[in-house]
């Protein structure tokens, strides 16, 4: 029997593969070298690839993301790690005003083949400045491709196609997924265009991504015990959104519940529910519903943090409410 592998190990394997395959690839970020990365994704890479290709940076997101953009323009293929999405706000100017805009503003003369990885999400008692889910802000911006690997397969397979993309790509790694374990996955690239059905069903569609996928699947399992067959869709790609897969599912199930760890106001969940009603309104048998984080800065205390986030039990309750008294 082969041993289990983890989401973190899969990410590290993807980095090693990229560093071995393409001499233009290098990694930089805060504490990614000597310390091995705040989530230990890059542990051991400094020893293997040396300080030229595994570079610790000063604590300036604005500075080192800008340096990454410059390196990409200069012909390299940088992978820039930012500790959390909260800290990435310091680099918003570089990401939004430069990386995302340069191809357009140069009339197509300059593209920015940059990959930025960052942790996102709550659930580890790291309090409000390390726990937010702001993926939707990046998914708002034309010029960026935004990915959210939620499985070990995607953690292993998304990095290489992201590096091959001629434009900036942002990968969101949910902090609760790093320790997730599963059977080893093949060392192959995955597509970075489409959402995927992770569990087929006929009664309603649960749409989610990232750290909410495992608990949404758990909720679907719980619902199945009552004879409710929920289809679970993993968005995987937050920009551009794969409307076709979502709407195809909703046309079959007639009900959609979006589970999103972001705050509800102005969230990706809002965008998804708008698209569903634009494209599949007449197929809906109930209003599209959203289950999001409570609109508070994510609390530190464990019970408050849990109460602020969608949980399997609340997903089950929301799904049941959508089915009314008619059952399935």
């Amino acid at each position: 029997m082969s041993e289990l592998t983890s989401y973190r190990d899969a990410l590290r394997a993807a980095h090693r593969e990229a560093l071995q395959r393409d001499p233009r690839v290098f990694v930089m970020g805060e504490d990614i070298g000597a310390y091995g990365g705040s989530y230990a994704v890059t542990k051991g890479l400094l020893e293997e690839f040396g300080p030229t290709r595994i570079r610790d940076t000063p604590l300036s997101e604005l500075g080192f993301v800008g340096a990454g953009i410059g390196a990409a323009l200069g012909g390299l293929r940088p992978i820039v790690e930012i500790m959390t999405v909260n800290f990435s706000l310091l680099a918003l100017d570089q990401l939004v005003n430069t990386a995302a805009a340069l191809r357009h503003m140069s009339g197509g003369q300059f593209n920015v083949p940059l990959v930025v990885r960052m942790a996102t999400g709550a659930g580890r008692q790291l309090a409000a400045q390390h726990s937010h889910s702001l993926e939707g802000w990046y998914a708002h911006v034309p010029g960026l491709r935004v990915l959210a690997p939620a499985t070990i397969e995607d953690a292993r397979g998304m990095l290489w196609p992201a590096l091959e993309d001629p434009d900036p790509v942002i990968l969101f790694e949910h902090a609760q997924l790093y320790n997730a374990e599963g059977p080893p996955v093949p060392a192959t690239a995955v597509d970075i265009d489409h959402a995927r059905v992770r569990r087929p069903g006929r009664d309603l569609t649960l749409i989610t991504y990232g750290g909410m996928l495992p608990r949404t699947l758990a909720a679907a399992g719980e619902l199945a015990r009552d004879g409710i067959e929920a289809e679970v869709i993993d968005l995987r790609v937050l920009r551009p959104l794969d409307d076709a897969t979502l709407c195809e599912s909703v046309r079959r199930t007639h009900r959609a519940l979006v589970v999103d760890e972001e705050w509800r106001s102005g969230s990706l969940a809002a965008e998804i529910s708008a698209r569903i009603q634009e494209q599949a309104f007449y197929d809906l048998d109930a209003p599209v519903q959203r289950l999001c984080a409570a609109e508070v800065p994510i609390p530190y205390a464990r019970h408050l943090e849990e109460a602020a986030l969608p949980q399997a039990a609340t997903i089950v309750a929301a799904a049941r409410a959508m089915l009314g008294t008619g059952g399935t």
Partner: protein, 391 residues
């Protein structure tokens, strides 16, 4: 607590004026009892309760004119304790089910947000999918019992209303009721016009006899297959006969799904479709016909087969009647009737001969077509029956 909204008593009814109450608070009401008399633009009509219960509160005053869907009165379920009386619909806004903390579960818009503050005007919640299905089936979803969130009528509620999952013992009664409802509505709403034609079937009869000589008994072609093909091929050239009239708009169909009225043992009639009959061969139509008759009588039709037809044929040729004037099955717009083939005196080339003749009829919806268009359609049906080898 059950809310009875003002039902639509006709496809074009948008509002009604309460003339009188027939019940008082505290009265026991059974499903089907008359609760009020309402004046529509056409006539004063009785409003029935679609639920049983005890009258709790009358929400309208006689003389008040309100849109369809406005709550008229509330009923208490048997054993239900009366909640405090209310005077504004806000008080009855559906409460969100209790959910764990921090979980915002949206509900359907409450009557207060939909109807505005001006009055009790509200829309009986019907899901978009249910509304579309109801339109396809030609039924009004407003009066259906909803089982969805906030009591919304769902797809399942609509489908259950047309094909109740009744046990075998009740099936005959359920079908009778469904036929009664559909036919009464059609006669109420559809301005039928009727055309009649006598069609000689000498060539068709001879052709069938010759063809069937070579065929095993089970594969013999019946005249009904010729009728289906003749109607289907003619309908391709007369789109005003073939399609659905939904929400005041006629949608011609690109295929001709011919519904075949099939009488059931024990009473009642269903009209499942032979799909795309215009592009099927005569043999395929015959097979489809045998299959449908068998399954219809065994009660094993699929629901979409019943909703699919775009035009319907009724054939009473086995019953020795001369002609049948059909009742259009809404939202279709035409029904073609075939009577019994009989030898009749017939003039051919100036000579009197004994000729097998059938009387065909057309019942068509005058909102979509006129007699002239219907006559041309029937002429083509007759002409095609003269060339059976091409069918």
């Amino acid at each position: 607590m059950i809310e009875l909204p003002l039902p639509s008593l006709g496809a074009d009814m948008e509002k009604g004026t309460l003339l009188e109450w027939r019940v008082h608070p505290g009265d026991a009401v059974a499903k089907g009892d008359i609760v009020a008399v309402v004046d529509t633009t056409k006539a004063a009509l009785d409003v029935e309760s679609w639920q049983s219960g005890t009258v709790h509160e009358l929400l309208l005053e006689p003389g008040q004119t309100v849109p369809v869907g406005t709550p008229m009165l509330t009923l208490l379920d048997p054993g239900e304790v009366a909640p405090p009386a209310r005077s504004r619909p806000e008080a009855a806004a559906p409460q969100a089910p209790p959910t764990p903390a921090g979980i915002p579960v949206a509900t359907a818009p409450s009557p207060a947000t939909v109807g505005g503050a001006a009055g009790r005007a509200t829309r009986h919640p019907v899901s978009p999918a249910a509304r579309r299905r109801a339109a396809e089936l030609g039924i009004d979803p407003a009066g259906l019992h909803g089982t969805g969130p906030s009591g919304a009528v769902t797809l399942k509620d609509v489908e259950a209303s047309v094909a109740p999952p009744a046990p075998a013992a009740d099936r005959t009664a359920a079908i009778r009721a469904a036929v009664a409802a559909a036919m009464a509505r059609s006669k109420r709403e559809v301005p039928h016009y009727y055309l009649t034609d006598d069609v000689p079937l000498g060539r068709a009869t001879q052709w069938l006899q010759r063809t069937n000589l070579d065929r095993p008994i089970k594969e013999r072609l019946l005249p009904a297959a010729l009728y289906v093909r003749a109607v289907a091929c003619a309908a391709v050239n007369h789109p005003a006969m073939n399609g659905l009239l939904v929400a005041g708009e006629f949608r011609p169909s690109t295929t001709v799904n011919v519904g075949m009225a099939i009488s059931l043992r024990g009473g009642g009639v269903v009209a499942p479709a032979i799909r795309a009959a215009e592009s099927k061969s005569l043999v395929e139509v015959m097979q489809a016909l045998s299959d449908l008759v068998g399954r219809a009588r065994a009660g094993r039709l699929r629901r979409n087969e019943l909703a699919d037809p775009t035009i319907t044929i009724t054939n009473l040729g086995d019953n020795s009647v001369t002609a049948v004037h059909g009742v259009i099955y809404m939202p279709q717009v035409a029904m073609i009737g075939f009577g019994t083939v009989r030898e009749r005196p017939w003039v051919v080339d100036g000579k009197l001969v004994a000729m097998p003749v059938i009387t065909t009829t057309l019942a068509a919806d005058h909102r979509v077509s006129d007699g002239h268009a219907g006559a041309r359609f029937m002429a083509e049906v007759a002409a095609r029956l003269q060339r059976p080898e091409e069918l």
